[in-house]
Symmetry: C2
Subunit: 334 residues, 2 copies
């Protein structure tokens, strides 16, 4: 039966439209992926072309045989070069787009994606995230760091070579602030972290769990916004991503890689975004906020209904989709 569900963390409503529902496997991408070469001469992110990228801020691995690099985005949305003052003038509020906009080149190989990397390679990507997050978090004026990945055209990527991005911005976005307010309200009313409570209840229910590992749990939210939308929560309560420990990095690498591999093999390499949702930089550890990763396969399109209501119509059942992904067998999981 079609029903409306509310996500208590985001307060967003979704229509789980079972009248229109497809079977999980019907969301698989139809066309075959174009095979990429392991190395592309003109790719600025391939080894040998290091001088084609902007200022490098991090290199993991050997100096000559790097594993992960972070470089300034060549077409940045935010920049440290920008000068100017914040203006608040009636309805007009603006400030210069001062900030960091970096690209994390995830691997030397042009043709590999997180789903196909080994766990240690994925751990290196996460270590790069952690290091740049921690370094930038002390920069003056920065309020929020957003780490995200665009995989595939429908997820708005512009370069094939596997990469993700980090943006440090001088404000706290409204969406993040309103989720924090909601989390505080829940804590004040109940004495518990809303995220810890959600994780506990989802583990007990079980039906939306995709993968449990030692330190992380991947699951589909009860009020899932779109087909195969997933969250990965740390089991331990902490608010800021960069406080992740080394054993947690390794476990998250396994969890993230496995979940993305299940999407890759189960749905034929769908386009997706993921993002790390962490607390504002000047707030750090709190009892009420819990960082997590959101994975959003770009399988369905938003239309006027979503734009006009801020709600979503999901034509998949999160319970069936979670079952489907649990059942996907991987060829060679490390």
């Amino acid at each position: 039966m079609a029903e409306l569900r509310q996500n208590v963390i985001t307060r967003e409503w979704v229509i789980i439209a079972t009248e229109r529902a497809k079977r999980p496997d019907q969301f698989a991408r139809e066309k075959e992926a174009i095979a990429l070469p392991p190395y592309a001469r003109n790719c600025p992110f391939c080894p040998g072309n290091e001088e084609d990228t902007s200022v490098e801020s991090l290199r993991l691995g050997d100096e000559k045989r790097w594993q992960v690099r972070a470089v300034a985005n060549k077409y940045p949305a935010l920049s440290l070069e920008i000068k100017g003052k914040r203006k608040v003038n009636g309805i007009y509020r603006s400030l210069p787009a001062v900030g960091y906009h970096e690209v994390i080149i995830e691997h030397p190989r042009h043709d590999l994606t997180t789903a196909l990397l080994n766990v240690e390679d994925v751990a290196q990507i996460l270590r790069a995230y952690r290091q740049r997050y921690a370094e930038i978090s002390h920069a003056p004026g920065m309020q929020t760091i957003i780490i995200f990945k665009n995989h595939g055209k429908d997820a708005a990527t512009s370069l094939e070579h596997p990469h993700s991005q980090l943006a440090a911005i001088p404000i706290v976005p409204h969406q993040l602030r309103s989720r924090i307010e909601e989390a505080i309200r829940h804590f004040d009313d109940t004495g518990e972290c809303l995220y810890c409570r959600t994780l506990e209840d989802e583990l007990e229910a079980g039906e939306r769990i995709v993968l449990e590992s030692e330190h992380f749990v991947a699951f589909m939210p009860y009020a899932q916004l779109s087909p195969f939308h997933m969250w990965i929560f740390p089991r331990r309560h902490y608010s800021s991503f960069d406080k992740i420990s080394e054993p947690e990095i390794l476990d998250l690498a396994y969890n993230l890689k496995t979940v993305l591999a299940k999407l890759y093999y189960g749905l034929n390499n769908p386009d997706y975004n993921y993002t790390i949702r962490s607390i504002p930089l000047k707030e750090q550890e709190t009892v009420y906020f819990h960082w997590y990763i959101a994975i959003i396969p770009r399988i369905s399109k938003t239309a006027g209904f979503e734009l006009g209501s801020g709600m979503y119509i999901n034509t998949a059942s999160p319970e069936e989709s979670a079952q489907f992904l649990r059942d996907v067998q991987l060829p060679n999981v490390e």
Copy 2:
């Protein structure tokens, strides 16, 4: 200079990324549109196939030569047939997807779109919206009506024949509620409607105005979320769309048609969504809330940054885009 701007109505932030900016005409669609036939034998919305649609709730024009029809959506996201109770059980909140989901068939011709219709035809579409809005607003349990249009594939339309949709839902979406709260706060602090104030200030600034008509003003928001995103505000303060008067209908038809024609000719028929943002049904007239139309051309894609922050990166300048649209000459405006 790249800057962050905040929209005081939605509280959303956008990066106006002038480093990445294109000239307005570079947003034009490259490929030529496929010419549609005026009549398509297999189209359920074409005249003669009336029995292929679900229950009809409205017909304007002659009984035989109709101008606009409203019919039940054949694949509804919401339905009056659904039974069940609202459940609030810990973190799980749901209710049956009881509601109306209708299609408004905008014109008998298969190949025409709002930009190409004459003003009186567009007025008939708006009258259909008003009539169904008013009729459904009294239905028990309904809280919000969302009227929207999906034009083109990137706006997620599934049928070519020009149509729009109406959804009546049994809740107030979080996005609408939080905007109302913001409007109330502004009213309590200043004694004025935030929307009236915005309109007044935008008219005085002038640089983001696209079209002024007797009763409506089309403009690009200062913190425009994406290229050519526009709002059409009624000059008169009222909260609920169905309180629109007959002279206002005619003027809105002229304004909406002209703005869409400027997009059509200026950017080569881009895909777009529009939506009517109106107050919840059980609240009606207030001093603080003001209905309006939002038009969102689907020219750019959202990526991980938008999903992870709820912010937007706009690679166009709203001031330049408004100037561009003001300058678009229409072949034959009525």
